[in-house]
């Protein structure tokens, strides 16, 4: 007999877990037991609800009350006031300007979002197959198997206009069709690419963790369409929860007869297993991924032959991204027309983005294609933190590029982003304010690509390393005239000559920042000055004597003892010994320590002397 009257949905996405969601859950168990109402409340761990910045978040049904930034100390209040007395705790609700937002659907963060792949993420219990079925799960699979031929189902995907969500945007139905049309080969494979490696991206992980059955159902529909009877989930080992959830989903589906022999009484038989990747970025590339599943070193191979012709163990194979598969069940159940009604001419449907950086609402969002960057950053993302100004947005991770304030009205779709030097990528978006140095950003991504290059082809292995060395020179004040042109030349060669997508796209962050922020590169090289005060060699700290109160805090906190002075004379930094750790800047109670772009004249002088001395020694 169920006396449950409250569903307590605690977001257990990684953001909320690291903010303490599991402790809160424990506390709820304790407090509910103390108050003797354990049998009246369902505590449910859900996947990511999206607004990571407000975490830990929770939603309480039947009312749909949304609480944010909950701490274990708040649990007692929630139980005593809300659960026992029916008075929701206003202080834990989101404040928007002078309005208190009570229920989840009124939170502005959700207003421009349309959830397709993320439909159940944060709403159902990912551990429960029943809850997935309750939302209509596996009905699409049943309908496809019982009422459609593979070709009919492929046609629906074709009409929907679905394109690969992993980055390239290749039309999904073409891959399926190619493998479907190969009738000579009896053994075919479907692979779900869950090797998400872009810095700052967590779309695939959230989907696998929050709604594993949806991905499994999508994979089985794909398998039926192309005639495959075996599937692989390639998920990186850094995603242990995603791996556990998918393995569990496979077990549950088998138990209920939704997977295995003769699904729904048809001839369709299917089995899937999980392969864990060791975390190499290049394994997200489909040929390298296939090698890795085969047990080989994760190296890409030249295309053609494409995997659709000769893939896993030489058999026709389709590799689909997690999000692509997540869209399939909904397209089948709601129709191609409905899906194609969202988006732009060539990019249909919605896209999941991981929104991060210097904006107010970081988190997981799903928006219709064609939304402008402005809407995405300022409406969904809530705009910049504090009084900072928007400077640039990096889309597509290490393969993508940076766009500027001039591009804010660009519709977000495959073609428009590509035309401006960025790319959709898998959906990582990093928003940056005016304090970020674009040369440094380019260096960061280049460093990542050099680290992750598999080393098989020389343009990528050697070219990227050369580019990184130039960038390191520029950011340490040793840039030379001609460095920018050299970067452009190298970048273009690497793009053209590399074997796989990693090398072909790796120069993009450098090329796009040179395209839009050339003046920053120039000031680094010519004036030896980082105007954003990020590159430590091209900036210095100084104490403003007008403002200094002589408290000596900075001198006491300086690890190299390079600050001296007195209450009367105020304090001074001895530039030659300064290691620019920034302690003085952080501790000054009156903000008298300032960051100043450019090298300090003393340092310039010293460098000249040292160069002279070196020359004398040589002579």
């Amino acid at each position: 007999m169920s006396l449950k009257r409250i569903d307590l949905l605690i977001c257990c996405g990684s953001g909320c877990v690291s903010a303490g969601a599991l402790k809160i859950k424990e506390r709820f168990h304790e407090v509910l037991a103390e108050n003797n109402i354990t049998n009246e409340v369902n505590i449910i761990e859900t996947g990511c609800m999206g607004p990571c910045d407000y975490g830990p978040v929770m939603v309480i049904y039947p009312e749909g009350i949304f609480y944010q930034k909950v701490t274990p100390e708040d649990v007692e209040d929630i139980v005593k006031e809300h659960f026992l007395k029916g008075r929701p705790v206003t202080r834990l609700m989101l404040q928007d300007k002078d309005k208190t937002i009570q229920i989840q659907k009124d939170v502005p963060f959700y207003h421009k979002q349309i959830k397709v792949a993320l439909e159940n993420c944060g709403y159902i219990n990912p551990d429960s197959l029943e809850e997935y079925i309750a939302t209509g799960g596996y009905e699409a699979l049943g309908r496809v198997l019982l009422e459609m031929t593979p070709q009919e189902a492929i046609n629906i995907i074709k009409e929907s206009g679905l394109r690969g969500r992993g980055g390239g945007g290749f039309p999904t139905h073409i891959k399926w069709q190619m493998v479907h049309d190969n009738t000579q080969e009896k053994v075919k494979y479907i692979i779900c690419n869950g090797d998400e490696g872009d810095p700052g991206a967590f779309m695939d992980r959230s989907l696998l963790e929050g709604d594993p059955h949806r991905i499994l159902e999508g994979m089985m529909i794909a398998a039926y369409c192309m005639g495959a009877s075996e599937g692989f989930f390639y998920i990186r080992a850094e995603y242990p929860l995603a791996i556990t959830r998918i393995k569990q989903a496979i077990e549950q589906a088998k138990e209920l007869g939704l997977m295995g022999q003769n699904v729904f009484g048809t001839d369709f038989c299917f089995d899937a297993e999980v392969r864990t990747g060791a975390g190499a970025f290049v394994c997200g590339e489909e040929m390298a991924l296939i090698s890795s599943i085969e047990g080989q070193r994760g190296n890409p191979t030249p295309k053609p032959p494409y995997p659709a012709v000769q893939g896993l163990w030489g058999k026709p194979t389709v590799v689909n991204n997690v999000e692509t598969l997540g869209n399939i069940p909904t397209i089948i159940s709601r129709g191609a027309e409905w899906f194609a009604s969202m988006g732009t001419e060539k990019s249909k449907g919605t896209k999941v983005f991981a929104l991060t950086g210097d904006i107010r609402n970081t988190g997981l969002v799903e928006v219709p294609m064609g939304i402008t960057l402005r809407e995405l950053i300022f409406d969904v993302g809530g705009g910049m933190i504090g009084d900072h100004k928007f400077k640039a947005v990096q889309l597509g991770g290490p393969s993508g590029g940076c766009l500027t304030a001039d591009h804010l009205d660009t519709p977000v779709d495959y073609e428009n982003l590509k035309a401006r030097g960025a790319m959709m990528g898998s959906g990582g978006i990093i928003v940056m304010n005016e304090e970020k140095c674009m040369v440094n950003v380019a260096k960061f991504f280049m460093d990542f690509c050099v680290e992750e290059s598999c080393g098989k082809c020389s343009p990528c292995r050697i070219g990227l390393k050369q580019m990184l060395e130039i960038l390191e020179r520029i950011t340490s004040g040793k840039g030379k005239e001609g460095d920018i042109d050299e970067l452009l030349r190298l970048g273009e060669s690497v793009s053209k000559l590399s074997l796989c997508g990693l090398g072909q796209t790796a120069p993009n962050p450098v090329l796009s920042t040179i395209r839009y922020f050339r003046d920053e590169y120039e000031s680094h090289i010519r004036d030896q000055s980082c105007n954003s005060k990020v590159c430590l060699d091209l900036m210095h700290f100084n104490i403003d004597k007008e403002r200094c109160i002589g408290c000596s805090l900075c001198a006491r906190k300086c690890p190299t003892n390079c600050i001296s002075g007195s209450r009367e004379d105020k304090y001074t930094i001895h530039q030659v010994d300064c290691i620019k750790c920034g302690n003085c800047f952080d501790v000054c109670p009156v903000k008298a320590v300032e960051k100043i772009p450019g090298m300090h004249p003393e340092i310039v002088e010293r460098q000249k002397e040292m160069a002279k001395a070196a020359k004398r020694n040589d002579d």
Partner: protein, 121 residues
């Protein structure tokens, strides 16, 4: 699992457990849980509602609660809200009265006028 009908059966049963989240309920029962309501036995009243609903397996009835309604002299107070109808407020509720309201009003649609203290909002 052989047919779509099999799947539908599982789904209907599973939807029960998602009832609180879906918001698709025919009747909503709102129990006033202010300090005076609790003092007068509102928790017992709510518990009886939950038990009755569970034993009778009423899948389309939702029990929720609200704070002080300002009707202290006739606590515990309960609102029965049905889509498209005037809401009915019952006062001075007891577990026995709850059983009657469930049997008469919720199941058979006959308002128990003896306990009604207010109709509409």
């Amino acid at each position: 699992m052989k047919t779509l009908a099999d799947l539908k059966k599982i789904r209907e049963k599973a939807q029960e457990d998602l009832k609180l989240r879906s918001g698709n309920t025919r009747v909503k029962i709102v129990v006033g849980m202010g300090t005076s309501g609790i003092a007068m036995g509102a928790r017992e009243v709510m518990k009886t509602f939950l038990e009755e609903i569970a034993t009778r397996n009423l899948t389309d009835v939702l029990v929720t609660q609200t704070g002080e309604k300002g009707l202290s002299s006739i606590e515990p107070v309960v609102d029965v809200i049905e889509e498209g109808k005037d809401s009915i407020t019952y006062g001075n509720m007891t577990p026995d009265k709850v059983k009657k309201v469930i049997a008469e009003h919720i199941v058979n649609g006959r308002i128990v006028s003896d306990y009604v203290v207010q109709t509409g909002n």
